[in-house]
């Protein structure tokens, strides 16, 4: 039987929800024969984006929900993360200074920087009152 090319999960905007999404990605990778040793950038990117959303959503009265869709397209994997929080484009965040000495480093801003570097393509859209971030990863040649 051919493996399902697409997997969607809806998780709470919480640490438990992040773990559920990571487990879903584990299942998807296993089904598609994508080893952790090669496909780890998908996990790092998912953790960065989801933890950003959780951090921002905790200011609201209740935790929202996050939709995660993982899709295989040829060799590539697309991950789409959609949340109903306030409009927020993480790609507009300033790039962190990754050359500063230890004393000048601020613990923050590195997550989106890593996503940009580890993914082959990252796009943000605000549609239907929701934030949608689409990431594409291609395995190293």
């Amino acid at each position: 039987m051919a493996s399902a090319p697409r997997l969607s999960v809806c998780v709470a905007a919480s640490p438990a929800g992040i773990q559920q999404a990571a487990a879903a990605l584990d299942g998807f990778r296993a089904e598609h024969g994508l080893d952790d040793s090669a496909a780890w950038p998908l996990h790092v990117a998912l953790d960065e984006i989801l933890s950003n959303i959780v951090r921002h959503s905790q200011t609201g009265p209740e935790a929202g929900w996050i939709d995660v869709t993982i899709e295989r397209r040829g060799d590539a994997v697309d991950m789409t993360v959609t949340d109903d929080g306030p409009a927020f484009d993480p790609l507009q965040l300033p790039e962190p200074d990754v050359t500063a000495p230890l004393e000048g480093r601020q613990p923050g801003g590195l997550g989106v920087h890593l996503v940009r570097k580890l993914m082959d393509r990252v796009e943000y859209a605000r549609a239907g009152g929701r934030n949608r971030l689409t990431m594409t990863w291609r395995p190293p040649a």
Binding site: A22, S37, E48, S51, R105, G111, K117
Partner: protein, 113 residues
Amino acid sequence: MDIQQERSDGVLVIAPSGRIDSTTSDTLDQALTAAVSSGERRLVVDFDRVSYISSAGLRVLLVAAKRLRAERGVLVLCALGEPVRQVFDLAGFLPLFTVERSRDLALTRCAGG
């Protein structure tokens, strides 16, 4: 995440395992904070059993490094696998830390410096 700790000639080795991400980094943070708070000044973090690290883990290491430096302590990292090394590199973290290939080399470096 489980964390093994081992003492060797006045150096405390902290060896986390699995993924260091936003849902597990608190465990590493607690281990490092407890070590420094209890007076440990020579620390090795062994990444041999770590599959990858995200920025949440980098943040924990940054805080520990700053705190140890303020206390005139020594922090040496070792046995970084390719995913961990790559994330360190992308974040510009490699020049900030003393990194050794193996735990033995890290212990030598830590004891000597």
